[in-house]
Symmetry: none
Subunit: 199 residues, 4 copies
Amino acid sequence: MPKISEAHRERRRGQILDAAWRCFFRKGVQPTTMEDIIVESGLSASAMYRYFNGKDDIILNAIAASLQGLAVRIEPLMADPALDPPQFLARLLETVEVFAARKGFNLLPIAVHGWSEAQHDEQVRTLMATAYAGFRRMLAVRVQRWQAAGLLDAGVSPEDAAQALQSVVLGYIVQVTITRDVTPAAHARAAAAALRRGP
Amino acid sequence: MPKISEAHRERRRGQILDAAWRCFFRKGVQPTTMEDIIVESGLSASAMYRYFNGKDDIILNAIAASLQGLAVRIEPLMADPALDPPQFLARLLETVEVFAARKGFNLLPIAVHGWSEAQHDEQVRTLMATAYAGFRRMLAVRVQRWQAAGLLDAGVSPEDAAQALQSVVLGYIVQVTITRDVTPAAHARAAAAALRRGP
Amino acid sequence: MPKISEAHRERRRGQILDAAWRCFFRKGVQPTTMEDIIVESGLSASAMYRYFNGKDDIILNAIAASLQGLAVRIEPLMADPALDPPQFLARLLETVEVFAARKGFNLLPIAVHGWSEAQHDEQVRTLMATAYAGFRRMLAVRVQRWQAAGLLDAGVSPEDAAQALQSVVLGYIVQVTITRDVTPAAHARAAAAALRRGP
Amino acid sequence: MPKISEAHRERRRGQILDAAWRCFFRKGVQPTTMEDIIVESGLSASAMYRYFNGKDDIILNAIAASLQGLAVRIEPLMADPALDPPQFLARLLETVEVFAARKGFNLLPIAVHGWSEAQHDEQVRTLMATAYAGFRRMLAVRVQRWQAAGLLDAGVSPEDAAQALQSVVLGYIVQVTITRDVTPAAHARAAAAALRRGP
DNA sequence: GATGAATGAGTCTTCATTCAT
DNA sequence: AATGAATGAAGACTCATTCAT
């Protein structure tokens, strides 16, 4: 009996977060009203408050859920030993894109909203900072493997390289959502060129 | 007489935009109220509407002014022929940081808010997309110079390289405002390592 | 079977009223929510409506039960022939205090809430007015006895005296719950002095 | 110019408090909604919040204003040397009644609501406790004068007597608002009888 | 007989904007 | 040219009550 209740609870929470994502995608996080989420979710006003503590709680959980989902998608990629740096970058960006593309909305603009939220919501900031630190740790390990395999200059600190790699991924997201004219392939080609020796 | 009036007008507009920046930095763009800007600027409610068409107009102009200011700072750097790629990247990121650091606030978090606004305000998006396209054009020219000087593999399209470089800069801003633990130097070291041949 | 059911019913009703008293004491009558009473009683939402018609019904019954309980306590005192007026007043106030002091709450503040409710709930008002009229009738009888015994001026109408005595008791409750610095003893001393002839 | 603005402010605040009194009288304090006060005052929702910090602030100020008004009315009576105890009591109760009777509402039920509020709002309680302590201090002085004039037994502490007198007044208010069948005259007659020696 | 999930109407409060002075 | 008082529409959130299971 508690199992059913718990499953029910999770289903409802998912239903609400899904509605929230669609709204955030359409209008942005702050401009989205509880009314928007209520209508979109098909539930009642009070139901929202049975499953979440309020708007801030929904925002926090929506962001947490997407970061969690992304981590699940990225981890196997990080462990794949077959990819050299340019291939890896291309696959990483593609994975982000595929992960973000949902039915009726896309998580990338929502990620940008999340960064904005993080500027004045310490809880959101900590959540994102923790997730991004985790990704960077995985990237650093990856860099060490490349260095061991002779695919990357061994003179650079893996942490520095991970920092720069992470910037490429995050900056890719910014360009995808603002100028909307960047591609994983172009980034991979640039990376390949950088890693080749100049004439 | 119109000259004085015009100068007065520009002074007032600057006063309001400055107040808006401080508020945006403290509370974010959407959560900032007209009342906040009124109090911060020391002007009256009606003054806001004499010098701007409303809140959206203030947001748009605040973003436009900061992008314009950044362009002015970055252009000379783009033209400096003495810098090799890693040096250039380090100087570029440092320039962005110095430009953004203001008395009482910092423009980088506000830039992040701007990206968020751009997701559902086409006017803001166009403004930013245009500015970023301009930066990227300058980067592409720069890349061509490096290729001509043999500092960079000539086999890559300058546009692709500019795309990736821009991502590094934008991603740097994301990390600076979210994880708050990245440095221009680390990015430059990573770039230098990438451009060296692996052992 | 109906007997057990009836006993069960009364136990549940008592449980709910007890929870309601604790809530009323903590938060006041109107600010107390059904949710508060549900949690405090350990019963379910529907149980509230099985045993009472709704919130108003709970309020009414909580007040009725306390007035009924007070009557049971006061009646023997009213009949006690050994007490002269100041002694009686002291004992009356003490009895009220002892009666009101419960485990975890006190009925005096709840009485004040009841007066407030009575102002716009005619059912509550009638209930209280009836109870207070009953107390006053008992007081009038008491006054007649004192007059017969020569302890009180016979020239005053027993009803008038009962009115004033009742005011003393009710005003005592007000002061106990608001200024919180009055005592039965002080009231009794004042009464004793009034009944002595001035020099 | 500031003078006009200040006068305007006070006029508006008075207008709002007056509307609040009428609503409190009709529905009670807690059941009165901001909407009620808005409609009754003829002002807009936002105007309420320009002149008061919220509902609680209106409640507090409405109570404070009535206590202040009562003090102004009672002080001259307290100073009148011509009244003996029963006369004084009668006049005191009459003064309270006359003071409380307003066009369209009566402050006595509102006083009862105030007592109820005081039970869970420490600010309200302190306000009322302070006012009542002030009244009692005046009553104690009055009692001393009567004792000096030989109208009252000198053996009683003036504070005790003031306590009891205050109870009579407050209890009178309770009975007026609940049983609605008490009169200043009856209380005065009872007091007169008490102060006469029994036969 | 009992539960607790669900609701819709309602509550307080805020905000961008305007307009009489 | 400037003010600041005023507003209406909307925002987040709560609550007494019901009903399917």
